[in-house]
């Protein structure tokens, strides 16, 4: 979590994940480290904090105590980035949007060398963020337990934070079946969008006839507005690797792949580093943690096609083929990579596994709601005051997430709708914001949980335009294999153009609905099947905006 | 459109009781092949002449103005210029049952190939005119301009049903005489033809 218990020795945590990097985290981190070093013993550029944390520089202690400046993963409130947390005897304070020039002032405050109290320090005071606000208070970090706390580039930090403890325990104490039992009991469902029961999937892979098996982590995260998986990859990659290794053990796999989109260079870099460190520590590779269990994991970089997040397309891509889906069955659990049974799960699904084993499946199942257990990470964006990452128990109402935590419309206007599920999902109108966030409720409203992108739509946005925006996305991302999606989305887009440009006819409305039904029912894979959802859901909840767009001719 | 609206009388003695059908044929942007095929109906043309009044047709009537209260109109060709468009709109208003007659009316077909020629930022009409009258001209390159005499091209060639509602489609390039006959004969007795199977439907 962001706020940590009071600690004797002060420390700064600077978010260096993608969101904050784009807001200038790198120069800020460098400035903080320089300021920390300037008062200490470390000469230019060498991060005092890194050494301090390892306690290898303990001998050199002439001047002020070395101040640890830790580079961490997402601190949640990305919209205020770059974020810096200051942990000290009084607990944690959080600052947003600091310029590198303010670094020295902050370090002086931390060291107690500042001439003004914090509340009067002009360089800092307007940047301090309230950690008591609901955005932070209502979060329930399980998957993101270590994100924002550990330095993702140092396995020692992850180990100190408990990573790989469950892997070691499982390998020494539990049978694969006993592991799967815990996952089944947890009620965990896939976080990649479909919500398939994870335990059942693991069983299906494990119970295939003897032979080779693979594990695959789906880190393609192609939904526009979604950055949950990226945060895990960038902020706490070892948790993911641990979850994956436990899964591999549970299903009997000794080889696996992490499929990451090329647009995530930092995630790829950190993942590769994490893999290397885990191998060095004997936590991956042959005979893991002194047992007979062996696992090789490799990173595969996708070229950033949305459809490559679809599991069969992803597997083709790993095999070096064109990333297009195929009909299922057979499901990957039966016949996946090179025909072998393959477990494929989303980043967040794997990352939930260590905590489930630590606390027990029943403990996890007690969080969340009937049918949707545990927590879910959402990325909040759009017309909302607090943009960022939230991990909340399932079953929480959309209103709590969007209005209470997200702070509603930044200009004080009313929220018009919330889009969930990206191009496969739909828009939920403001009057239904009391809907609980769970798989079934969102589906029943014509949207879906999806991978966790939540885009808030303000009053100024016309719904046919929203639908057109997503349809244009589907047109671009269709793999082109099957005709309803390849050609149907193009025709849907043309029809939506007519509504957006106010020249549609009643016949166009009929054609729009008929074609949506056809594309949904007949497309080969989830991309095409879900492509009409943004249209159907806006037709359902905002039909008057379509009928108002009918031109004078009709 | 329901065929019952074009033949008011119920049928004990259909041939006698029914008023003569007012039939029109129209030639828009097409090669006239559909009309040639119509003329291939041979003897059936005599039967037809018994049963209908041809009130407007490029091949069987001298009338220049599309008349009122037409029962059935066969429309050959796509809608490619302003004259085509005007005639299409007029005939729709004055006709009970409009038939897209042949592939050009149905899909724009050969005249629609012009739609493939559009240079960036220019519609296909401009592109083909510039190509034909400016780029390929030997001397005195000049775009044709004779308002009221030479009809202006529409930016895009359209099938008839994208311009007016169409009641029946009679595909073929051209539809064979047999197919035309099989489509028209039922109309004469107030029935809608069954447009099914390769003999009635196949394009080309």
């Amino acid at each position: 979590m962001v706020a940590l218990p009071p600690c004797e020795r002060p420390r700064l945590r600077c978010c260096a994940a993608s969101g904050c990097r784009s807001a200038g985290a790198r120069p800020l981190l460098a400035a903080l480290r320089a300021a920390a070093a300037a008062g200490g013993t470390a000469p230019d550029g060498i991060a005092a904090g890194d050494q301090a944390a390892d306690d290898i520089s303990a001998g050199a202690s002439a001047a002020p105590e070395p101040l640890e400046v830790r580079s961490v993963g997402c601190l949640r409130l990305c919209g205020e980035g770059p974020l810096v947390a200051w942990d000290g005897p009084e607990g944690t304070r959080l600052f947003g949007g600091l310029a590198p020039a303010a670094a020295a002032a902050l370090v002086d405050q931390v060291r107690g060398l500042a001439s003004l109290p914090l509340a009067a320090d002009p360089a800092l005071v307007s940047h301090q963020l309230d950690l008591e606000q609901p955005f932070f208070r209502l979060q329930r970090p399980l998957v993101l337990e270590g994100c924002g706390i550990v330095d993702p580039e140092r396995i020692e930090a992850a180990l100190a934070h408990g990573s790989y403890a469950q892997l070691r325990r499982v390998l020494h104490e539990l049978s694969p079946e006993a592991v799967r039992e815990q996952v089944r009991r947890s009620g965990l469902r896939g976080r990649g969008g479909g919500g398939y029961p994870t335990g059942l999937k693991w069983d299906t892979v494990a119970l295939q006839p003897p032979g080779r098996r693979y594990v695959v982590c789906n880190a393609d995260e192609g939904d526009p507005g979604a950055f949950m998986d990226r945060s895990v990859l960038e902020g706490d990659p070892h948790r993911l690797l641990e979850g994956m290794a436990i899964a591999a053990y549970a299903v009997g796999a000794d080889h696996g792949y992490l499929y990451v989109r090329a647009e995530y260079p930092l995630a790829i870099e950190r993942l590769r580093l994490a893999l290397q460190q885990a191998r060095q520590q004997g936590l991956l590779g042959p005979s893991i943690a002194g047992t007979a269990f062996a696992l090789e994991l490799e990173v595969r970089v996708g070229a950033g096609a949305y459809v490559c997040g679809e599991e069969t397309a992803l597997l083709h891509s790993i095999q070096g083929q064109r990333g297009i889906p195929r009909t299922r069955p057979p499901y990957p659990a039966q016949a996946g990579l090179w025909g072998a049974p393959t477990l494929i799960n989303n980043v967040e699904t794997f990352a939930a596994v260590p905590v489930i084993l630590r606390q027990g499946g029943d403990w996890y199942a007690a969080i969340g709601s009937e049918g949707s257990r545990g927590t879910k990470v959402f990325s909040l964006s759009g017309a909302i005051r607090h943009t960022g990452l939230v991990e909340v128990p399932m079953g929480i109402s959309l209103r709590t997430v969007v209005e209470t935590m997200g702070g509603g419309d930044p200009d004080g206007g009313a929220v018009k709708a919330v889009q969930t599920g990206g191009p496969s999902g739909g828009c939920i109108p403001a009057d239904l914001l009391d809907t609980p966030v769970d798989f079934e409720s969102l589906l029943s409203l014509g949207s879906m949980m999806g991978s966790g992108g939540m885009v808030v739509i303000g009053q100024g946005t016309a719904m046919p335009e929203v639908a057109r925006h997503f349809m244009a996305f589907s047109v671009n991302e269709s793999c082109g294999k099957c005709v309803p999606c390849r050609a149907g989305t193009v025709q849907l887009l043309a029809l939506l153009d007519r509504f957006v440009e106010q020249r549609a006819t009643a016949a166009d409305l009929e054609a729009l609905e008929a074609l949506c039904a056809m594309v949904k029912a007949t497309s080969l894979c989830g991309l095409g099947q879900a492509a009409p959802n943004p249209v159907l859901s806006t037709l359902r909840h905002f039909r008057q905006e379509y009928t108002a767009a009918l031109g004078p001719g009709s | 459109m329901d065929l019952m609206t074009i033949s008011a009388t119920p049928a004990q003695d259909p041939a006698q009781a029914r008023p003569r059908l007012r039939l029109a044929t129209v030639w828009l942007a097409g090669c006239s092949g559909c009309h040639m095929s119509f003329l291939d109906l041979d003897e059936f043309l005599f039967e037809l002449a018994e049963a209908v009044d041809i009130v407007y047709s490029p091949v069987a009537s001298d009338t220049k103005i599309y008349p009122e209260q037409v029962d059935v109109c066969l429309v050959e060709g796509a809608v490619a210029n302003v004259d085509n468009l005007e005639l299409a709109l007029t005939l729709r208003q004055r006709t009970a049952l409009v038939i897209s007659f042949g592939d050009c009316a149905i899909s724009a077909n050969v005249p629609g190939l012009r739609n493939l020629c559009s240079a960036p930022g220019r519609d296909s009409a401009r592109t083909v005119l510039e190509r034909g009258y400016l780029e390929l001209a030997d001397a005195s390159a000049q775009l044709p301009f004779a308002p009221g005499i030479v009809p202006e091209l529409l930016p895009k060639v359209l099938p008839l049903h994208e311009v007016i509602p169409v009641d029946l489609y009679l595909p073929g390039c051209p539809p064979s005489a047999e197919r035309i006959r099989a489509a028209i004969a039922p109309l004469l007795v107030g029935q809608r033809p069954r447009m099914e199977g390769a003999s009635m439907l196949r394009f080309g």
């Binding site: 096609a305 459809v307 064109r322 297009i324 195929r326 009909t327 069955p329 047109v475 671009n476 991302e477 269709s478 793999c479 082109g480 294999k481 099957c482 005709v483 309803p484 390849r486 050609a487 149907g488 989305t489 193009v490 025709q491 043309a494 054609a511 008929a514 074609l515 056809m518 029912a521 007949t522 497309s523 080969l524 | 897209s100 592939d103 149905i106 899909s107 724009a108 077909n109 050969v110 629609g112 190939l113 739609n115 493939l116 099938p159 049903h161 994208e162 169409v166 489609y169 595909p171 390039c173 447009m195 099914e196 199977g197 390769a198 439907l201 196949r202 394009f203 080309g204």
Partner: protein, 238 residues
């Protein structure tokens, strides 16, 4: 050989285990329209014309790419399916440039056949007029992309039967197109043996022999199945 029994449009039918639903439908003396499927080639389930309804399931199944299983109750010709199929055929016509009147495949084209089968007398979707090209670089054959429906029969026959893998698909969505070699002119691809199998199995006028002109194409889609059967049953080996 074990057998599964199922019901297709009210008719009971028994087929060898491992048969596809399409084989079961045909064994029952019925048919569904197909375009991408071809006996002898691995199914891809791409054209979606053969979708059927399975009792007790919301999801439609591609008959060509689904295995028949015991006790299934299948419907092949409901009003819903008819509506979807007709739309699919209209989408095919609207996404390419089809002018049957001067097409080499006029009269033998399978796209024309399915248009008839689904009762398509016109397309309710506007034609897109995509800019596509013709590859006439091969000494004996041509590929007119305007008529290609991306069924990938050519890709599969060249890969799975001829073993040359000259063809593949490039780009995505509506930009998809068949490419020879490494997106080269077909005539420059050394791997092509000029066997003509791709031309034989192409359901449309996209691939054709150069000597054939309007309405002169003689497709031989049956050859893929013949070759595969001959190989598997070693028919030409004494």
């Amino acid at each position: 050989m074990s057998v599964v029994t199922l019901q297709v449009d009210g008719r009971d039918v028994a087929v060898p285990a491992g048969s596809t639903l399409l084989q079961a439908i045909r064994a029952a003396g019925l048919s569904v329209p197909t375009l991408c499927d071809l006996e002898g080639l691995e199914p891809v389930g791409a054209c979606r014309l053969c979708l059927v309804e399975l009792e007790g399931s919301q999801r439609l199944l591609p008959a060509c790419a689904s295995e028949a299983s015991e006790g299934q109750v299948i419907r092949t010709d409901t009003a819903q399916l008819q509506g979807y199929r007709r739309m699919a055929v209209e989408l095919f016509f609207a996404e390419g440039n089809h002018v049957c009147a001067f097409c080499v495949a006029n009269g033998t084209c399978e796209l024309q056949d399915v248009a008839v089968a689904v009762g398509m007398d016109h397309s309710r979707f506007p034609y897109q007029y995509p800019q596509r090209s013709v590859d006439a670089s091969h000494p004996r054959f041509s590929l007119d992309h305007n008529r290609c429906i991306l069924c990938t029969r050519c890709v599969r026959v060249c890969d799975q039967i001829e073993g040359a893998h000259v063809w593949d698909v490039a780009e995505r969505g509506s930009d998809c197109r068949i490419v020879a070699g490494l997106d080269q002119p077909w005539g420059e691809v050394d791997a092509c043996t000029s066997c003509g199998k791709c031309v034989d199995v192409c359901p449309t006028g996209a691939l054709f022999a150069k000597e054939d002109t309007t309405a002169e194409k003689h497709p031989h889609p049956e050859r893929a199945g013949q070759l595969r059967r001959a190989r598997e049953q070693r028919q030409w080996i004494s």
